[in-house]
Symmetry: C2
Subunit: 175 residues, 2 copies
């Protein structure tokens, strides 16, 4: 499928989670076999041959993409989880949400210093979540080699929160 066709499989839900916001519902892309496989193949192609040691998926929908990337690139998968989910010693990072804050956690022994990590999530919006994940890996001595997203909402400028030359998104919404 063309990227323009992939984009059309994404459903927009008006006024979710609040009035005036058009929510990009990626579940309609996921449940479409042609779209899902084609989108994942393109993500894999983007990173095939790159020097990456581990793929990190962000809780929860990021796991769906990260696991296929890890599987196809013959790499391990690291889970970046919401607070309280991981059983061993964690490195944690809090970040601001529109209301309140959230915390992400990574097992401290899930990366070794110097390892190159690809951080993956389904959607890049304001960038706060992905930036927090990157800060955790950097604090653990790893190198964030790339940040990969299925969809980027360009108008929210989330890319500015991340190493700009290391961000890739397959599908872009300009407004």
């Amino acid at each position: 499928m063309l990227v323009s066709e992939l984009k059309k499989t994404i459903r927009e839900i008006p006024d979710f989670p609040k009035p005036g916001v058009g929510y990009k519902d990626l579940t309609t892309l996921f449940r479409n076999p042609l779209a899902f496989v084609s989108a994942m193949d393109r993500m894999v192609d983007r990173y095939h041959g790159e020097k990456i040691d581990l793929v990190a998926g962000i809780d929860a929908r990021g796991f769906s993409l990260a696991s296929v990337l890890a599987y196809r690139l013959d790499l391990g998968l690291v889970l970046v989880r919401k607070a309280g989910k991981l059983p061993a010693a964690v490195e944690a990072e809090s970040y601001q949400l529109e209301y309140g804050q959230a915390t992400l956690e990574v097992h401290r022994d899930s990366v070794e210093p110097g390892q190159r990590v690809l951080v993956v999530d389904d959607l890049l919006a304001t960038g706060g979540t992905a930036a927090a994940a990157c800060r955790i890996f950097e604090r653990l001595g790893a190198v964030v080699e790339g940040c990969g997203f299925l969809v980027e909402l360009d108008y929210l400028n989330g890319r500015d929160q991340l190493p700009p030359d290391r961000v890739f998104s397959l599908i872009h919404f300009e407004e």
Copy 2:
């Protein structure tokens, strides 16, 4: 890797989440590239050629397995989410936890009547979560063709909550 070797990559965390419980930490399997790819290949092999229309992953770690299965079997991926995460009309099902209860939701339009669904999660413990997911799909008119898990804790008898002849788990812990 042999299944016995895969099993050894799973870390046991004593006294988590409470004293006396030995928590099976699958993140150590996920982050091991040989183990992760080998485990996923075996899951895919188990279902290759079966009559399945959709793969459903249970929030959140189930997404990691379900997405690789969907990708490799050329099927769409449906997300079974915790309450409040899905933006369109949902079918919901609550189930008992040790303390309190939890609710799973599936988009009503994510399956069509008669479609055959493979329900996937990382771990089968008491079976309450997977059983709730199955009830949602049955209520939506779909057929639960199988329930696939990476790990099953046999001593918790979760299999008894599910159609017994349709459960597959790659790795078993007897105690």
